[in-house]
């Protein structure tokens, strides 16, 4: 079985990948204080979607040490393709070893059949321009033109779950990383809601989400 590999970028001085597959693994990145791509991970096998054309996978990262947690507003997934993803840092990261886990779920490029998630909005009507891309009831991406006032965007599942499922998300651009401390998620059996606190920058929020059923 081909396993993923990691390459160092301009935003780090050392990188490593352990217990890693194309689905989950551990990352260690010694970051610089200057901005740049910290690491590029190349999958063992390319992701694709037979039904709807090529589609990049959805990636979630989480800190596993205090240094990584403290800089979660400066690290984000900056690029994804069917064969790689990049982790980038914003200027100001501590020059120290940051460790993370990652999860990867494949999704689809085209909504050829079945029911797919829909959108509704709370708080600020202008958020009605939010868009779900490559979105299924299991994983996808959401772009939301952000306002500085608090509000929410609700994504309704194509099919209901028996129990409110478990939802995670990760920043897919630097503006989302900067405001990561003002975003949280809740779920019901029929939808999940991204909530935004007041004071966020008026920038486009770009998130990847994963959903796993529970009981």
């Amino acid at each position: 079985m081909a396993l993923p590999t990691i390459a160092i970028g301009a935003g780090s001085t050392a990188v490593a990948i352990t217990n890693a597959t194309d689905v989950a693994g551990n990352l260690s990145i010694t970051t610089k204080v200057t901005a740049g791509i910290a690491a590029t991970i190349t999958f063992g096998y390319a992701y694709n979607d037979i039904g709807g054309g090529l589609s990049a996978a959805q990636i979630i990262i989480t800190p596993t040490n205090a240094a990584a947690a403290l800089d979660m507003n400066k690290i984000y997934v900056s690029s994804t393709t069917t064969t790689t993803f990049d982790l980038s840092i914003k200027a100001g990261c501590a020059a120290s070893a940051h460790t993370y886990t990652y999860h990867i779920i494949e999704t689809q490029a085209g909504n050829g059949s079945g029911s797919f998630p829909g959108l509704s909005y709370g708080g600020v009507p202008a958020w009605a321009s939010a868009v779900v891309t490559q979105g299924t009831d299991v994983a996808g991406r959401i772009t939301i033109p952000m306002k500085t006032t608090a509000g929410s965007v609700t994504i309704t599942f194509g099919y209901p779950y028996a129990v409110a499922p478990i939802v995670t998300f990760t920043a897919l651009n630097v503006d989302t990383a900067v405001d990561i401390g003002k975003i949280w998620v809740t779920s019901t059996t029929t939808n999940f809601t991204l909530n935004f606190g007041a004071g966020m920058a008026s920038k486009d929020i770009f998130l990847m989400y994963h959903i796993i059923e529970t009981q």
Partner: protein, 101 residues
């Protein structure tokens, strides 16, 4: 089926609860750090052991947790996972677990 349970505390945490929780996904709520503590952790033991320490991600499910997200991290062994924090606030998280090799 054996389900995960809260089995240990360290530092300023003394109460935590799992909801709708399995060895694959669930909700974890952790009490705020008690006074005079700047660190705390809570350890959950899986219902069944993994062959290799599994890969865990989490996301905040409350405003308070989101504002504390720069001070929360996770580690795992084949039989447990631990959420650590050096922030005083109540924590409410969704977690997801994927096996690796």
């Amino acid at each position: 089926m054996a389900l995960p349970t809260v089995t240990g505390y360290a530092g300023g945490i003394s109460t935590a609860a799992l909801t709708n929780a399995t060895d694959v996904a669930g909700i974890l709520t952790v009490s705020a750090l008690s006074a005079a503590h700047v660190f705390g952790s809570v350890t959950m033991t899986f219902g069944y052991a993994y062959a290799t320490a599994p890969i865990i991600v989490f996301t905040p499910r409350s405003s308070l947790t989101s504002s504390s997200i720069l001070n929360i991290w996770v580690t795992s062994t084949t039989t447990t996972f631990t959420i650590s924090t050096n922030d005083a606030d109540l924590i409410s998280l969704y977690y997801q677990i994927i096996e690796t090799q």
